[in-house]
Symmetry: C2
Subunit: 350 residues, 2 copies
């Protein structure tokens, strides 16, 4: 089959990890006789440097024209500590999510058996963890009105949600639960926030269409504890944008390395696949970044294409490699292989 | 010396843990020849049941008339899953914070050596952890305008901050850092939120008055990871209300039990002392709750009164008791003492 893939490498280690997932996709194309067309375009700090715009129109066109977007990472420290910067790399990603209608970010969190001892959490705590987080991605405080008073002394952000925005992602979460352990946990702060109370109301309504799935509720502060105390209690976690950002990054340490975690962002049309980790500028150019999160994101993309055998082949190649103890520096500071090495090995296994 | 203490036991296990900290305070009063006058008043769900108001005027008067407030916990499940409830226990606490001008919530997080193995985190990760979280408590999304559209289909909450609100807590955090490890970490989401950018700007300004203290910044999603990956890197964490709620509850698992963690809320006048844990209704009336968080909150209150020897005596009595392995059920499911037992033992040690 024939697929057009928009490749947005971005900043920091983005290009390095993307190079390896493209390598793996090429190996899949060859073995399974598919044709993947890779269309590269720039985003983030590098796009600002080139064009002044973190999401140039040309890039957006490449994405809209594609079957899916393979995304690296964005962000550069030179913007982070400059509160007055008008243009920021992150705006590129946020705009892309909005423009492509990517309203659901899906992040699986699983404990790899061979890596159980890499986690800061005890083995007996993380064993058996197998959850997936559904984070709303195009609403809430990320996209609500932002204000800075004329005198610069007051600033505000509006967190707003509509029934429609909540319903559509809730349906995805319940459908996912049906193929898993039949449990959805809504994370909110309904004891304080009006928007959270709307979430609770709407999600409770949606739940009625999925009688086999149990729905429970957790305040976000309690959820932040439960993720560490007992992560294996969760099946599908459903939550709004900001809480999802925090909880899913927290969850990312369960598996022992954020360098292993993939995500899919889906919505109205074109979907986007990206590793959880950011641009990690300190590691840039050192050939030490872990490309597995990006490779597993590519596997999620294959699933999305309906190529589940191919996706499984990628996952198995990754598992085999990890099981042999072949890992990057983040997972073993003493005996490690480089970013390009591990990409070669995984591609070779396919 | 003579002190008036408002005692607001609240809901769930609140009254049980408060009974023990009052016991301990009475032991202190006797040993050190102080006079503590305890004025009880109701708050939370129980106050709603009694008066329809989670913070009756009479309770507020008792608090305003006191030197400090000793607070239990509030919250009752019957309100949590009812999005349409107009009156909620939490409103009592939020209003109290606002009325008393308690703009800073201070939560120390330390790893007890004798309890290192109780934490879900590995010993080597938590060893040496000694941080204190300064959470802004009377601003942000908790208190910004809340709206529900007429048709009930859209809801919003406004997160708003002013320079003044940020400055006053920033000064407290920097002053604390000067007596500790000279480091302040501001947790925000400045790559997305306008209000976070104001925090970054104002806190950077305040930092100039404390040249010995280093200031660094962490996005809240990254902070949620770093709290688990490497908690001993932190000294003073400074953050806004909602992020502080999440991060400090997450931090509470480091010590092995939320049942050990005290907090102080300070501001313009009267201060308030409360355990981190909530009302934990499942444990109510079973005499199994851990009163140590409340007892250590009472110790923070003694410090606040300027009675540091007395505060130290309470802490030592707690440490001795824990070191002997005398703990409640949350810390040892097999060999445990009751809530009232451990209160007696700690009071007896003084
Ligand atoms: C880069 C940033 C804007 C982004 C977010 O907060 O959504 C990132 O943290 C993520 O989770 O994808
Ligand atoms: C009960 C609730 C409103 C409160 C809060 O969110 O502030 C609690 O979680 C806390 O942290 O003291």
């Amino acid at each position: 089959m024939n697929f057009k893939i928009a490749v947005l490498s971005g900043d920091g280690i983005g290009p390095e990890v993307i190079q390896e997932s493209v390598k793996v996709l090429k190996a899949i194309a060859e073995s399974y006789k598919h044709e993947f067309q890779f269309n590269y375009a720039s985003v983030g700090a590098i796009a600002i440097d080139e064009t002044g715009n973190p999401l140039p129109d040309a890039t957006l066109d490449v994405c809209k024209d594609a079957t899916a977007v393979l995304f690296g990472a964005i962000g550069d420290p030179k913007y982070d500590n400059d509160p007055s910067a008008k243009v920021r790399p992150e705006q590129g990603l946020l705009k892309l999510r909005k423009e492509l209608g990517l309203f659901a970010n899906i992040r699986p969190v699983t404990a790899y058996n061979s890596l159980l001892d890499k986690s800061p959490l005890k083995k007996e705590i993380i064993q058996g963890t197998d959850m997936v987080i559904y984070r709303e991605l195009t609403g809430g405080i990320y996209f609500g009105e932002k204000k800075l008073s004329e005198d610069g002394k007051t600033a505000s952000d509006l967190c707003e949600y509509s029934q429609f925005e909540i319903e559509r992602i809730a349906h995805l979460a319940f459908k996912a639960a049906q193929t898993r352990k039949n449990k959805v946990t809504l994370v909110d702060k309904a004891n304080v926030l009006e928007s959270s109370r709307l979430w609770r109301k709407v999600v409770s309504e949606v739940a009625k269409s999925y009688p086999k799935v149990t729905l429970d509720f957790l305040f976000v502060d309690n959820a932040a504890m439960q993720m560490i105390l007992n992560p294996s209690q969760f099946d599908v976690i459903l939550t709004e944008n900001m809480f999802g950002d925090i909880i899913s990054d927290e969850g990312s340490v369960i598996g022992g390395s954020i360098g292993l975690l993939a995500s899919a962002s889906v919505g109205d049309g074109v979907a986007l696949f990206e590793p959880i980790h950011g641009s990690y500028p300190q590691a840039k150019g050192k050939n030490i970044a872990n490309p597995i999160a990006s490779i597993l994101s590519a596997a999620m993309m294959l699933d999305h294409f309906g190529l589940s055998d191919e996706a499984e082949a990628v996952r198995q190649a990754v598992n085999k490699t990890i099981d042999k103890g072949i890992v990057t520096k983040d997972l073993n500071g003493e005996a490690f292989v480089t970013t390009t090495n591990i990409g070669d090995i995984i591609a070779g296994t396919i």
